[in-house]
């Protein structure tokens, strides 16, 4: 009996790995075809990607990018785990980063007070922005997909309005960039200088902590169990005593708070100000990464690293004379393949387990029957 359990577990692991591998292989094939179609050699492109991507300065770049992407992935995954599609991560993190930057620029406190304050401000802003969608869903039944998409646009408008000279921002000396007041040096987050390879952002530590917290809260606490129960079956969760409405609101707020962290690595480790070229659209990247990582804390990390790797290496391909659209093609194909592959593998796994359990029980029954006869 023990053997079968182990076998099922091993199988489950294999099936779990099968889906992303399948997706990535399919994406490689499609990309190769696309490069071939443009009249170039895909083999050269891939080998260039690997050599360039494994250079030490690329590694640091990828880790820094992945830090941001990881937070985005976790933020989206929290919603996914209970069947909430928080598309609004994008608006949430931009609002959060903006107000945190305004606060950070205004503060003249020592770093050990200012940095936590900035981070808290970002999380609170993200949570509040997400809470609007949560409250609308709970009280009026508005689909979170619709409301968060609209909140994204509203966030863009609000930031555009406030990010003007004379409002909450100022014109930079260059004259083309408008930004919030830069953070004082004391409010910079620590970073690790790796010499010629570049500077590794210290915020990666926070990202790891968030990952651990995500795993712990979902897998080891009562709250996490309730949240997962709602995600798997709302009706069963209600019958088990979970208040689904409260859960929807709470998880939306938590997702928003984590979304608030997404802009922090950039703000505290890199740009130190919110300007009109602050990275946008990372919320959508987060959706892709959460899908790729199967909402699993380690999976999301791998997805984030892959995304960073693709971005870094395809940028370089452009200098080698390849088309820069390759990146979009690879990413798009991966996401599509991942979604299809997971569903296929999930159904296959479920069916297979049912068959195996049936077969095992039949074998047991047959064995006892033989004993009876003998």
């Amino acid at each position: 009996m023990k053997k079968l359990t182990q076998r099922i577990d091993k199988e489950r692991l294999l099936l779990g790995l099968a889906a992303p591998l399948l997706a990535i292989v399919a994406a490689l094939v499609v990309t190769a075809l696309v490069i071939l179609a443009t009249g170039k050699n895909p083999g050269d492109a891939f080998s260039d990607m690997v050599t360039y991507g494994s250079a030490s300065d690329s590694q640091v770049y990828i880790l820094n990018k992945a830090t941001t992407y990881y937070l985005a992935g976790v933020s989206v995954a929290i919603g996914f785990r209970m069947n909430l599609f928080n598309i609004g991560v994008d608006g949430q993190y931009r609002m959060a980063a903006f107000f945190a930057a305004v606060l950070g620029g205004a503060l003249t406190l020592p770093g050990w007070i200012a940095i936590p304050l900035i981070i808290l401000c970002a999380m609170a802003t993200g949570a509040l922005w997400a809470a609007i969608a949560g409250i609308l869903k709970v009280t009026r039944g508005v689909s979170e997909v619709i409301s968060t998409i609209m909140l994204n646009s509203i966030a863009t408008a609000i930031i555009a309005y406030l990010l003007q000279p004379g409002k909450l921002a100022e014109l930079q000396s260059g004259g083309t960039i408008v930004s919030t007041e830069p953070l004082p040096h004391s409010s910079y987050f620590f970073s690790i200088d790796t010499g010629p390879a570049g500077v590794l952002w210290g915020f990666i530590v926070i990202a790891v902590l968030v990952g651990i917290a995500y795993w712990f809260v979902l897998g080891r606490t009562r709250f996490g169990f309730d949240l997962r129960a709602v995600g798997q079956s709302e009706s069963a969760a209600t019958a088990s005593g979970v208040s689904v409405k409260k859960m929807v609101a709470t998880s939306m707020v938590i997702s928003g708070a984590v979304a608030g962290l997404i802009g922090m690595p950039t703000l505290l480790n890199d740009s130190h100000q919110f300007s009109n070229d602050f990275p946008s659209g990372i919320g959508f990247t987060g959706i892709a990464i959460a899908l790729l990582g199967r909402n699993n804390p380690v999976g999301i990390a791998l997805g984030a690293l892959l995304w960073g790797f693709l971005e870094r290496t395809t940028n370089h391909l452009e200098f080698q004379g390849y088309d820069k659209e390759i990146l979009g093609v690879i990413q798009g194909v991966i996401v599509l393949c991942v979604v299809i592959a997971y569903e296929v593998v999930r159904r296959y796994g479920l069916k297979r387990q049912q068959q195996r359990v049936g077969a095992e029980l039949a074998a047991q029954a047959a064995a006892t029957k033989k004993q009876e006869v003998a």
């Binding site: 009996m1 023990k2 079968l4 359990t5 099922i8 577990d9 897998g219 080891r220 606490t221 009562r222 709250f223 996490g224 169990f225 309730d226 997962r228 129960a229 798997q232 079956s233 009706s235 069963a236 209600t238 019958a239 088990s240 005593g241 979970v242 208040s243 479920l350 387990q353 049912q354 195996r356 359990v357 049936g358 095992e360 029980l361 039949a362 047991q364 029954a365």
Partner: protein
């Protein structure tokens, strides 16, 4: 049956239809070969007419207009089904819906009919009508495969009976010259379990008191419908209160109101002297309410989660599942092993998903889970539906045992034998009201059945000439 209807592929063995060996890749293949299935759970759309439901997916046969209507009338008359094609499905009762399902299958040209537990939702009078229909079909040369747990029905309607136990054929008998007892022994391999409770354990300590429960619901057309009307009863410690009724007369809503999943407009629910009318579901569960839901897939299990997580479901705040805010996974797993052992849940391990267990084993897991928290009140809605005879007996035993120790049980069931056998008190529910009560010691299923259709109200007295 799933294999015969093409929903699942066999590992080995063959199917022969009319002398041809066939393989079915999907239900469409089976239909093409003239095999049609009437599922236990109806697959009909409420907001379409009978005609529309019948032609749905078979538009190519006779179109969707007058020709189809004529054809439906033709079939209906030929087999005495008495189906009116232009009625909205939501206006039909369960028995009528079932006839629509049968007609749907015939319309597609089925020559072999599979009926899966067709009588589970019918009252005895409706069962007789169904049997008359089936005999009609038989007379017209059709083949009917009738799957049932109820021995009396099988004996009365079948020409040949095949007994299947744990996936293998254990015997084929002629109904003539076979007694229910012999058949039952074939089914379980031993004595037939009866749901008879031996000695009364009813005390005079009231445990659950419902007072004037009233629930209305506004449906999509804006019409206010009364779901529950002036429901009052008391269950004492050690008492099983059975509620009979055709499904859809407010039983599910009553259960959900007691569980706190629905909020009645007026009325008071008192558990063990404490007013629980306004506390959330979780607090009610913590206060000692065990719940065996009528639809275990929707309300009782997380199908894609492993068994040990399902053991936690509904009792996440209680020992051994958690300590403070944290889950105690080790203790929960150990306890799951215990339940699997004690309640004879047949599974290769506690890490398989709930979906991979058979219905009976899922149900045993739920019963084990609910009983493990020493409930004061057990709400059991159709606790043995779709469960094999062996598991049924085990579940009855567990309920009886707990009742001896002072458990109060609210039993809702469509199986009248189960209701009569297990209950200390019987009530009949009809259109959201408790219309009749009866003494389970003397009442017969037929008498109960007439009250379930609203034909009799008040206190049901058993009359000698009505006995079967």
């Amino acid at each position: 049956m799933k294999i015969l209807y093409g929903m699942q592929q066999p590992d080995e063995g063959t199917i022969t239809v009319n002398g041809d060996q066939v393989t079915f890749g999907n239900p469409a293949d089976a239909i093409a070969r003239g095999i049609g299935m009437v599922h236990q759970h109806f697959m009909l759309a409420d907001n379409l007419t009978v005609l529309e439901n019948v032609v749905l997916g078979a538009e190519k046969l006779h179109g969707i207009g007058a020709k189809a209507r004529t054809k439906i009338r033709e079939i209906s008359d030929a087999y005495g089904l008495n189906v009116r094609p232009d009625v909205l499905l939501e206006e039909l009762g369960v028995a009528d819906r079932q006839r629509v399902e049968i007609l749907k299958v015939l319309y597609r040209g089925a020559k072999t009919l599979i009926l899966d537990e067709p009588t589970a939702v019918l009252v005895p009078q409706e069962v007789d009508a169904l049997f008359a229909n089936l005999r009609e079909l038989k007379a017209e040369g059709l083949t009917v495969i009738f799957i049932s747990h109820k021995l009396g029905e099988v004996l009365s309607v079948a020409d040949e009976i095949t007994v299947i136990r744990r996936g293998t054929t254990v015997g084929t008998v002629e109904p003539k010259g076979t007694t229910p007892k012999q058949l039952a022994e074939l089914m379980v391999g031993s004595e037939l379990p009866t749901p008879e409770t031996q000695e009364s354990t009813v005390t005079d300590v009231p445990l659950l008191k419902l007072d004037g429960l009233h629930l209305t619901q506004t449906d999509l057309d804006g019409v206010e419908r009364i779901i529950l009307d002036a429901i009052s009863f008391t269950i004492h410690k050690g008492e099983v209160l059975g509620i009979a009724g055709v499904e859809g007369n407010g039983q599910s809503e009553l259960v959900e109101a007691i569980m706190g999943m629905r909020h009645p407009d007026t009325g008071v629910v008192t558990l063990d002297g404490v007013d629980i009318s306004h506390i959330p579901t979780r607090s009610r569960r913590e206060a000692g309410v065990g719940y065996i839901p009528e639809d275990r897939h929707r309300h009782g299990l997380l199908l894609e989660a492993p068994l040990w997580e399902n053991r936690i479901l509904g009792h996440v705040t209680e020992k051994p599942n958690s300590r403070g805010q944290l889950l105690d996974i080790k203790a929960a797993r150990t306890d799951t092993e215990r339940i699997v052992e004690a309640y004879d849940v047949r599974t290769p391990g506690i890490d398989v998903t709930a979906a991979s267990l058979s219905g009976g084993n899922q149900q045993k897991l739920i019963v084990g889970r609910e009983m493990s928290h020493a409930p004061k009140l057990l709400i059991a809605a159709h606790p043995t539906r779709g469960v094999d005879v062996g598991a049924q007996a085990a579940i009855w035993d567990h309920i009886r045992e707990a009742r001896r120790e002072g458990l109060a049980v609210l039993l809702i069931s469509a199986d009248l034998d189960e209701l009569i056998g297990l209950s200390d008190t019987l009530r009949v529910m009809y259109r959201g009201r408790l219309v009749a009560d009866a003494d389970p010691a003397t009442i017969t299923p037929e008498e109960l059945g007439s009250a379930m259709t609203g034909a009799a109200t008040g206190h049901l007295e058993h009359t000698e000439d009505d006995a079967r």
